[in-house]
Symmetry: C2
Subunit: 552 residues, 2 copies
């Protein structure tokens, strides 16, 4: 039997978010990234979504390390939940290392985890099978890297998230020569970022945004607010640079951005001249034309600083006429409406609002088609697995490779849980492992089998009606009329008469039987069915019905 | 006292949807459009949103007519709900007239309404004040018109929804000469479509889409499905033309599209050669390369034909490898995710999917900046009110007029309920009338004051916990332990112990007082507060708590 390299995507393939991919060879497993996903509409009450690691839990003794590509939440955010389970060391580029360390401190169970910083180009041995080194890429957070995983069958290149920016803000350019060297030496498998595989051409350089921001801040007559992603350190650098040039001070509003700026500054990924960063309180003493506020909320997140400011609910900041607000981001699919409402609210209060539709105040962090083709051409892998994207992004990326006629031994569009086995005798697919979403819901986690989310969905549509029936334990007679109470169903004025008729119908149904003969569960079912059909008939609605039968 | 023309936007200003605008002069009122809006995320259980017409209800004797611009739902959809209240005649272009008539038949209360078809260029007198005629515009439904309302103070031009397409599918071009004539004669007020006021340049002609569709259908090897808006009659025409050219038959799937095609064909707005339209069943007997299916579902609507097909839940249609699916639409903000999921599901089953990001298979129906400028230049109004758009669209449109230096007597960014009064002595704003959203919720309507929607929102997050306490009426003692039941809160396995402790806590709280002294409402409040604080402490959640106190 020949040995196999098993490629096991546990998150991020067929979806955007919770990236995680395991590589298994004989007795060794390494894992690339461990991210979260944020809940979509209809995932009621869910705080976060994390990968299902049950496959890994059954092979704990094999796991050598989690290898991190960069510090975005969809690549590191699940570590606090999953590290206490997997109990393995984490290796991460220095900025990601700083962010992870801060994050793990907040969660007791994960506090003792081992997290090691890595530098690009240094080789790390994991178990017998894996020889790993990182190489620099460009992305919308500094210190992003791809990973080269040497295996007995050949080298695997995982790009992480990337774009090819020849003029990045921090001057740290994509290490294309290393990629070319790997290609020259022969690459077994390429896993490459597919997020923008539908988009022709090249992704615009961060430099263009710098020019637009400088112009907008330079032209502003009053105070400027810039909203962007908390993790977009290069954007913070650009705003700071423009502020310095135009004689303004900068204050950061919003906890997650304050934290990121703190870590990035400490580690040297952000250069802020002394005296430029000031506390929010101090900006009030300055004339408006000397102030820039940087905030979170570029996605219309309800609890973010910008959204609270726009809704006039922020304790410290109010919009005044003459303010310029720059939304330096593009709405992530699903966030279009909250972003639009936020812009409207700012305009209503007299702010000038500059956003992606009217100026180039944002570029995204992922490679477009021409960059993806360049990577495919440099790496020339035997096998190709597009990663990081909805199914349509993965198929678009696969089509690109097909059109270039690279990866001649196989292009595989895998989704989470689809195992790819590579060995001397060729590739094999078809095996599936458990890789559904795990919902973090308050203090617990639940999977898709839990009825709780469906119950919430049902409650959200038509509300709930509770029908309480009290029985005499001795003779089985009803004690008084049944009682109905509701929430989210009808206004009290509408419900009054309906409930009188409803409880009468339930009482009639129950007294038509000898209920002493029946089990409590059967009685409950009778109450539920009577109430359901009465309400469907008279109000044409289907609220959740909770029957309570008490024996006194 | 001089007489005033009162302009009263009741819907569609500061939002996309439920367009409605009243014009009042002395004893006469005419109303332009009467549309619905579809609920956004968080409007749980709401079926539709319609305008608040309480201002009009107090002036029923003044209302002369509702004037319709075109047959889209956001312009005619509220008629079945509002006509029974306002009891006034409706005047509409012929296709809209056909669609309204079909729509009113379905609702008993609205069936006796008077709906008259109009033709462009014909003058209708409404009351003493208003002399109205319609003029042809281009839009994404045939027979769309703007309205010229002659008033004693001057002419009002309301564009309705429009773009300026010099090569529309049906050959009916925008009546620019009439617009120029009105401009020459002098226009008091222009109300013009703002939907795409942020977008530079010109909107692409429908002709370009025809070319792309023809190419895609011509190149397809197997069956073709085209999804678009049910009302997009010109798109249906383009698909039929391409089908005829490439030797295919067409079948329409989805009730709303079948209805629209029926009305449009009867009225001559759609030309389908005999034998081309076939029932769905018949397509199964044809080879795939001779079949085109047209469906609804281009917005990812859960109950639409395309979405059910994509989810393998459609009774009659399954995707097979070799199918080509063309999504001839752009997601309306808020629908991006369901559309994306639908594309993914189609790709997973082996279909080739062509959508707006990879080919010009859709253009939108609204004017871009250069077209808006052209209308402003031709009409040269004294006053300008941008209509039909979110607040940011209205302000962008106002900015365009400002930049052109037209409407020198006043540009007014109004939102729903903001009254503009024009008279010989000048313009006046500041008065507000009630114009909030009215939610159609099953058989009832409710406004924002109703607590029901907030209750549903709360239920959707953390579910509901019902705590039932039974008391002896005679001595005020508890009869047995309190009972707790829940839905959407925790899985049963998690809730068991929690509920034992919860009911014990409630019992303890109640037996610590002499509850005979207390009102039932006070007892309920005690039960609620005890349960709330216990659950917050032990499960860190805040479900809706419904206390029930029974006296037996």
């Amino acid at each position: 039997m020949t040995s196999q390299l098993r490629v096991i995507p546990l998150g991020g393939l067929g979806e955007i978010g919770k990236n995680m991919m395991a590589f298994e060879y004989e007795d060794d497993i390494v894992i690339v990234d461990c991210g979260v996903q944020f809940p979509e509409e209809g995932m009621f009450g869910v705080d976060l979504i994390i990968p299902d690691v049950s496959y890994l839990m059954e092979r704990l003794d094999k796991i050598r390390a989690i290898l991190i590509t960069h510090g975005h939440e969809d690549h590191i955010g699940a570590l606090p939940f999953i590290l206490p389970q997997l109990k393995c060391p984490v290796y991460a580029p220095r900025l990601a290392h700083g962010l992870i360390t801060a994050k793990l401190k907040e969660r007791r169970a994960a506090r003792d985890s081992v997290v090691e910083p890595i530098d690009p180009g240094v080789i790390h041995q994991f178990g017998k099978a894996f020889e790993v080194s990182w190489f620099r890429v460009c992305h919308s957070i500094p210190d992003a890297m791809g990973i080269a995983i040497g295996t007995p069958l050949g080298t695997v290149i995982h790009t992480g998230d990337f774009k090819i920016d020849h003029t990045p803000v921090d001057g740290r350019i994509f290490d294309l020569p290393s990629l070319a060297h790997y290609g020259d030496d022969g690459v077994l498998l390429l896993c490459s970022d597919s997020t923008y595989a539908e988009v022709p051409g090249y992704t615009t350089s961060e430099q263009v945004v710098g020019v637009a921001l400088d112009r907008a801040i330079g032209e502003a007559k009053g105070r400027v607010m810039v909203a962007t992603f908390a993790s977009l350190v290069s954007r913070v650098q650009q705003v700071v640079d423009a502020a310095v040039k135009h004689g303004r001070k900068v204050s950061i509003v919003g906890r997650s951005m304050v934290d990121t700026v703190h870590v990035a500054t400490e580690l040297g990924y952000l250069t802020i001249p002394p005296g430029i960063l000031v506390p929010l309180g101090e900006t009030r003493k300055l004339p408006p034309e000397q102030v820039v506020l940087m905030t979170t909320g570029s996605q219309g997140e309800p609890t973010s600083a910008l959204v609270r400011i726009a809704k006039q609910e922020h304790r410290d900041v109010n919009i005044v006429a003459g303010d310029t607000v720059i939304i330096s981001a593009t709405p992530i699919p699903g966030n279009e409406l909250p972003v639009s409402h936020t812009i409207d609210n700012l305009l209503r209060q007299g702010a000038k609002v500059i956003y992606d539709r009217i100026a180039t105040v944002h570029v995204h962090g992922h490679a477009s088609q021409e960059e993806l083709k360049l990577v495919l051409r440099l790496v020339r892998p035997r096998y190709f697995v597009p990663v990081h994207g909805e199914f349509r992004h993965l198929t678009a990326h696969a089509q690109l490779a097909w059109d270039l006629d690279v990866a001649k031994d196989g292009i595989f569009v895998l989704e989470d849980g689809d195992v790819l086995e590579l060995s001397e005798s060729g590739p094999k697919t078809g095996e599936r492992v458990s890789a559904g979403p795990i919902f973090v819901d308050g203090l617990t986690t639940r999977d898709t089998a839990s009825p709780v989310l469906n119950q919430r969905r049902s409650l959200s549509k038509d509300g709930v009606v509770v029908v309480v029936v009290t029985m005499d334990k001795k003779n089985g007679n009803l004690l008084g009329e049944p009682v109905a109470v509701a929430s989210g169903f009808l206004d009290d004025s509408e419900a009054g008469t309906l409930f009188e008729e409803l409880t009468a119908a339930v009482a009639k149904e129950l007294t038509s039987h000898d209920i002493r003969q029946e089990e409590i569960d059967d009685l409950k079912a009778k109450v539920r069915e009577t109430a359901r059909s009465f309400i469907a008939g008279s109000a044409r609605r289907s609220p959740m019905i909770i029957p309570v039968v008490l024996e006194v």
